[in-house]
């Protein structure tokens, strides 16, 4: 006997589900959600349009990086722009961009970290040592980071130190910077005693800092005949005189000295080329393409620290790698990272996949088949991530890969972190780099990942996508946001056989922004896996819901 079963698609909490057949998708799952958000219970709602943060940066092709450094009491928004050959940093905190700061063609391959008042800018080519971006009397400027850091591609702040990794000569190496400041203070030399190894000395005007240990490297600059790198042999009790291991050539008391990076001793080597660094809960995570290792402890080797006191040690690896350091982003106690398999959350002790879930309600196949397949890191091929408003945004910009028979694409998905539900975003949200800011207000900025777009040299901000109104029915380039929802296979509780779907009711709100008269085109496809063409239902298109 035939029986009627009422089915209600009224929960959308699982977001997109792609790892099971459509007919096996659980309640709350949808096959597709484009430009819908699922963070409000019992409904899906269209995202609003993003907004421009900056005007077009004249003479620049596109933006390759973004940062929102919260300099003490003076947070700024910084865009890294490329004209095709050079990289220039602009302060775009206000409508009027600051004077461009030359970054010497630096390729920004990570989300730049901030150390108190200095933004660290590594060159992803490994050509130049890192630079710093800082405020000089309120003006953002870029200069070389002092104290002789290695020409590393990646950086992070860990245990109070600047950590650098992967140079062209040592792609597997992690260097640890000086302890008290990433740029140790310089001390004025008031006297020098020329002498052979262990027989000369320098006397300074003010006491040296406590990290001038025997064995620590330091440099002398601006002196008469003594400029160079030395190793401390001993320091007087009053901390005013230092005897180097090396000879002191000249007895003129001028110039200055200060600690420098101990690139000879202050490092650890991992097994593979490093692709990113992250620090969380006292653990340093060192990523390669196919694995990650963690470093415990807070006293690195080098700087004259006796080996018995060194407590940093490499721990066994897990096979969660990092495909692009721009996908490394921290929020609360988690580090999020993307690789060829999926998107993961790590906390230094363990990891879990956000894309592939234990109950198969994830988007693992969407990630591996539609987004990352054929991806190879290169100029314009980028995986970037950012966290804002409890959502993790992940963008894959993939150039054509003939070998894998995949075309160039740009795709962005967003995960509502409290529930792990994923949705897709159309092209107005997608970035080569995201940058989240907390002060003076919460916002996330991004550099649009479309070099071909006419507004590729304009930064955008994302907050308004969570506040759709008649003011932002479109993205700032004028492209209307036209969301799409595609259901799982309906009515499977009635079995797989012949069914009669008759009465259907869609409960919705579709509010006109002006006089655009938006509609819902409702189509249906029969079969277990929507194998047939989508055909419009009789009542389609459904009108807006303004009286």
């Amino acid at each position: 006997m035939a029986k009627d079963i009422l089915t209600i698609e009224g929960s959308f909490a699982r977001g997109i589900v792609r790892d099971v057949p459509r007919h096996a998708e659980p309640q709350g799952g949808s096959y597709d959600l484009l430009d819908y958000l699922v963070d409000r219970p019992g409904m899906i709602y269209k995202r609003g349009g993003a907004k421009y943060q900056s005007v077009a940066l004249s003479g620049e092709n596109d933006l390759i990086g973004m940062a929102a450094p919260e300099f003490p009491g003076d947070a700024r928004v910084i865009a890294f722009a490329s004209d095709g050959s050079n990289t220039t940093a602009y302060d775009i905190t206000t409508d009027t961009p600051g004077t461009g700061q030359d970054c010497e063609s630096a390729l920004i391959l990570e989300n730049p970290p901030l150390y108190v008042d200095r933004l660290i800018i590594c060159d992803g080519r490994g050509t130049n040592p890192p630079k710093k971006g800082y405020l000089d009397s309120g003006t953002f400027v870029v200069a070389d980071l002092t104290a002789g850091p290695p020409s590393a591609k990646y950086s992070c702040l860990h245990a109070g130190r600047l950590v650098l990794a992967n140079s062209n000569d040592h792609p597997q190496r992690v260097w640890f910077g000086p302890a008290l400041d990433i740029e140790p203070p310089r001390f004025t030399i008031t006297a020098a005693s020329a002498g052979a190894a262990l027989a000369g000395s320098f006397t300074v005007a003010t006491p040296l800092t406590s990290d001038f240990l025997a064995g620590a490297p330091f440099t002398v600059a601006n002196s008469t005949g003594n400029d160079g790198t030395y190793t401390a042999a001993s320091v007087s009790e009053d901390l005013l005189t230092i005897v180097p291991v090396e000879a002191v050539a000249d007895g003129t008391g001028d110039g200055d000295l200060g600690l420098c990076w101990d690139t000879f001793n202050g490092y650890l080597d991992v097994d593979e080329e490093i692709t990113g660094l992250a620090s969380t809960q006292g653990v340093l995570l060192v990523f390669s393409r196919g694995q990650s290792q963690r470093v415990l402890g807070d006293i690195p080797p080098g700087y004259g620290v006796p080996s018995s006191e060194v407590n940093m040690a490499l721990q066994p690896s897990v096979h969660v790698g990092c495909i692009d350091a721009r996908s490394l982003v921290k929020d609360e106690s988690w580090v999020y990272v993307a690789n060829e398999i999926g998107v993961y959350a790590m906390n230094g002790a363990g990891q879990q996949s956000l894309t592939t879930k234990d109950d198969s309600s994830g988007v693992g196949s969407l990630w591996t088949l539609d987004m990352i397949d054929g991806f190879a890191p290169a100029l314009g091929s980028v995986v970037a991530a950012g966290v804002f408003n409890s959502h993790l945004f992940v963008t894959v910009s993939r150039r054509e890969n003939v070998e894998h028979d995949v075309t160039g694409q740009r795709n962005t998905i967003a995960c509502f972190l409290p529930t792990g539900a994923w949705v897709r975003m159309s092209g107005g949200v997608g970035a080569f780099m995201y940058a989240t800011r907390f002060a003076p207000f919460y916002e996330m900025y991004y550099a649009l990942n479309d070099e071909a777009a006419s507004d590729a040299n304009q930064a955008r901000r994302i907050n308004d996508i969570f506040r759709p109104t008649s003011d932002n029915p479109s993205d700032p380039d004028g492209v209307d946001i036209e969301p799409l929802w595609e259901t799982r296979t309906l009515g499977m509780a009635a079995g797989i056989g012949m069914k009669h779907y008759d009465l259907g009711h869609l409960t919705y709100l579709l509010s006109d922004a002006a006089a655009d008269d938006p509609t819902f085109v409702v189509t249906e496809s029969v079969g277990l896996e929507a194998g047939g063409a989508f055909v419009a239902v009789t009542e389609s298109p459904l009108p807006d819901t303004n009286p």
Partner: protein, 235 residues
């Protein structure tokens, strides 16, 4: 259907002969000023007369225009009340030879009184009938003239005809167009609308694709009643 309005630009003018002289007249016009034109007028030249009542010899009894500082202004160059662009306002011109005064009301409030005014009311003219200023654009939604306030006994046109046939003559760039400043839509409500789904073997998938931009889009539920026609499990 979109509301039709008169659009006057670059010397555009519509003239209506009321047929006889009237000692007293009330002219009411709902007009909207182009924001760019208003900004241009307010930065120096002022506007030409936008709505005017004249005698049989085209001598002005009273008119409403915009001053060089963006205020409403009468034919005697009395000014008061800042004008706004991009919104519909009601302009009333009261010409009365009995008390020898011309008065202008904006949205019901008297802003200008000028005297002496002894000119009889015979011709209504709307439009920016002066070609020396560009931009010079404004719109008229509806206009009527009568012996008492609010009356349309002498003349009335809401431009719903889509033409200016009711007028005595027109000149230059004056046309009837869709309302460029439509009121915002009424607040949307959540609705539950029926859709007729297919008879299907095995399963059915529904896709809902929005077309056109919206202020807000929310979906709460898709309900279906499914009748199994093959409880045994299929052929």
């Amino acid at each position: 259907m979109a509301n039709k309005v008169l659009r006057s630009s670059l010397g555009g003018l519509a003239d209506k002969d009321l047929g006889s002289d009237h000692a007293e007249s009330w002219t009411t016009a709902i007009i909207a000023l182009d924001p760019a034109s208003l900004a241009s007028w307010a930065s120096g030249p002022g506007s030409p007369g936008l709505v005017a009542m004249l005698d049989a010899s085209f001598f002005t009894a009273e008119w409403a225009q915009i001053s060089t500082s963006g205020l409403w202004q009468g034919a005697g160059l009395t000014t008061d009340g800042a004008a706004s662009g991009g919104v519909w306002v009601t302009v009333e011109i009261h010409c009365d030879t009995g008390d020898s005064s011309g008065k202008i009301y904006i949205d019901g409030t008297l802003v200008i009184t000028e005297s002496p005014m002894t000119t009889a009311s015979r011709r209504l003219e709307v439009g920016a009938g002066y070609t020396g200023q560009d931009p010079c654009l404004f719109y008229v939604d509806e206009v009527w003239v009568g012996p008492t306030r609010g009356s349309g006994a002498y003349f009335h046109d809401d431009f719903s005809s889509g033409n200016l046939d009711a007028w005595s003559f027109t000149a230059d760039d004056i046309t009837v167009v869709d309302d460029p400043f439509p009121p915002p839509p009424s607040p949307a409500t959540i609705v539950r609308r029926r859709i007729t789904l297919a008879r299907a073997n095995q399963g059915l998938t529904v896709r809902v694709q929005q077309q056109g931009s919206s202020a807000a889009t929310e979906i709460y539920a898709l309900e279906t009643i499914v009748r199994s026609l093959d409880p045994g499990g299929g052929p």
